[in-house]
C-alpha cells in the first residue's frame, strides 16, 4: 500500500507534464487565441460603429442647417409678398377713394349750378308774371325795362326783409 516505486512516480510526472503541454497548446492556446480575436473584432466593430454614428450626425447637422436656411428664405419671401400686397391694396384703395371724392364733388357742383339756374329762371318767371299782373291792374303798358328794374328792386327788398 505504501511501497514507493521510482518508475510510477517518474511516469506520473511525465504523464502530467505531457497532458499539461497538450492542454496548454490545444485547449488554452486555442481558446485564448479565439477570445483575443473576438475582443479585437468587437473593438473594430465598435470603432466602426462610432465612426458611422459621427458621420450620420454630421449629415444630420448639414441637413438641419439647410432646412432651416430654406425655412428662413420662405419666410422672407412670404413677408416680401405680404408687404407688396399691402402696399398695392393701400394704393388701390386710396385711388378709389380719390375717384369717389372727385365724383361726389363734381356731382355736388352740378347740382348747385342746376339749382341756381332754376332759381334764376323762376325769378324771371315771377317777374314776368308780376309785370303782367301789374299791366293788367294799371291798364297801361309800362316801360318794360324801367319797370323790370323797379320790380327787381322790390323783390330784393322783399328778400332782405
Amino acid at each position: 500500500m505504501l511501497e514507493f516505486d521510482f518508475w510510477t512516480i517518474l511516469f506520473s510526472i511525465i504523464n502530467i507534464l505531457v497532458l499539461f503541454l497538450f492542454l496548454k497548446k490545444f485547449l488554452f492556446g486555442r481558446i485564448n487565441a479565439i477570445l483575443e480575436k473576438r475582443v479585437s473584432v468587437v473593438q473594430d466593430e465598435m470603432d466602426k460603429a462610432k465612426e458611422e454614428a459621427q458621420k450620420a450626425e454630421k449629415i444630420r447637422a448639414d441637413y438641419e442647417a439647410s432646412i432651416s436656411g430654406a425655412r428662413e428664405e420662405a419666410k422672407k419671401i412670404i413677408q416680401d409678398a405680404q408687404k407688396t400686397a399691402n402696399a398695392q391694396s393701400a394704393a388701390i384703395t386710396q385711388q378709389a377713394q380719390e375717384e369717389a371724392n372727385r365724383i361726389v364733388e363734381s356731382t355736388r357742383q352740378e347740382l348747385q349750378l342746376e339749382r341756381e339756374r332754376s332759381v334764376a329762371s323762376a325769378q324771371n318767371e315771377i317777374v314776368s308774371l308780376a309785370m303782367e299782373a301789374a299791366e293788367k291792374v294799371l291798364g297801361r303798358e309800362m316801360a318794360d325795362k324801367d319797370n323790370r328794374a323797379i320790380v327787381d328792386a322790390f323783390l330784393k327788398e322783399e328778400e332782405e326783409a
Partner: protein, 249 residues
C-alpha cells in the same frame, strides 16, 4: 475478505520491461499508470474534437469550453492575482486530471483511481512544490530575493518556512492519497455488504463528492501557496498600474 481487500489495495504491476537499470531496477508499469494513460487519451481526444472548429461566434460546445476556461482563470486569479496568470493552465490541467482520476472508479471496467496509488500523488505533490518554489524564485527576482523571502513575515519564521518546503508537498500528497484510498476502502466494504443500489448511493458521496473536493483542495492549496510566493510581483504590478492610472489622470 481481508485478503481480498489487501489484494485490491495493493498496486498491481501490469507488466515489466526487463531492462535492468542501475539503482532503480527494471521498468515496472503499475496499473495506475495504465489508467492515467487512458484518462489522458480520453481528455486529449475530447479536447481535440471540441477545439476543432473555433469560431468568433461560438457554438454550444465552444461556449461551454470558453465558460470553463474563463472559470479557471477567475477561480485561480482570486488566489494568485495578475502575476499568477501564467500558472493557470498547469493548475487547470491538474484539476481536470485529479477530478477524473478520483471519479474514474465509478466508471468501471475494473479501473481504480490512480490517485489511490501513493506514487501518483507523490508525483503531483512534487510538481506542485517545484512550481511553488520556482514561482517564488521568479517573483523575488533571483537567488538573494528568494532566500530573503524565507525570513518573511519576520526572521523568526525562518525555520518554519524552510520546513514548509517539505511539509507542503507531504501534506498535499498524503491528504489526496488518504482520502481517495479511504473512500476506495469504504466503497469496497459497502460492495461486499450489498452488491446493488446501496453502493450507488454511497458512491455519490465517496467517489463524486469527495473526489471532486479533494481535487479542488489540491489545486486550491497549490494556487494559494503560489499566490503567497508571488506576492512581491503582484505588488509591483499593482504599483505600476496605480502609477499609470494616476499618470492617465
Amino acid at each position: 475478505m481481508g485478503e481480498m481487500l489487501t489484494e485490491e489495495l495493493g498496486n498491481r504491476t501490469v507488466f515489466t520491461i526487463p531492462i535492468d537499470i542501475p539503482f532503480v531496477g527494471p521498468i515496472k508499469i503499475h496499473e495506475s499508470i495504465i489508467v492515467m494513460w487512458i484518462i489522458m487519451a480520453a481528455i486529449m481526444i475530447a479536447v481535440l474534437i471540441m477545439t476543432r472548429k473555433l469560431k468568433i461566434v461560438p457554438g454550444k460546445t465552444q461556449a461551454v469550453l470558453e465558460l470553463g476556461v474563463n472559470f479557471v482563470y477567475k477561480f485561480f486569479g482570486e488566489n494568485m492575482g495578475k502575476a499568477g496568470k501564467r500558472y493557470v493552465p498547469y493548475l487547470s490541467t491538474v484539476l481536470l486530471y485529479l477530478c477524473i482520476s478520483n471519479i474514474i472508479g465509478m466508471i468501471g471496467f475494473g479501473m481504480k483511481p490512480p490517485t489511490k496509488d501513493i506514487n501518483v500523488t507523490v508525483a503531483f505533490a512534487l510538481l506542485s512544490i517545484i512550481l511553488i518554489e520556482v514561482a517564488t524564485f521568479r517573483a523575488n527576482g533571483g537567488l538573494l530575493g528568494f532566500m530573503k523571502s524565507f525570513t518573511k513575515p519576520m526572521a523568526i519564521m525562518l525555520p518554519i518556512n524552510i520546513m514548509e518546503i517539505a511539509i507542503r508537498p507531504l501534506s498535499l500528497c498524503m491528504r489526496l492519497f488518504g482520502n481517495v484510498l479511504g473512500s476506495f476502502v469504504v466503497m469496497k466494504l459497502i460492495e461486499q455488504l450489498c452488491g446493488v443500489i446501496l453502493p450507488m448511493v454511497f458512491s455519490m458521496y465517496f467517489d463524486v463528492f469527495d473526489g471532486a473536493i479533494q481535487a479542488y483542495v489540491f489545486v486550491f492549496l497549490t494556487s494559494l501557496f503560489i499566490g503567497e510566493g508571488i506576492e512581491p510581483e503582484n505588488e509591483k504590478i499593482e504599483a505600476a498600474e496605480k502609477l499609470s492610472l494616476s499618470a492617465a489622470k
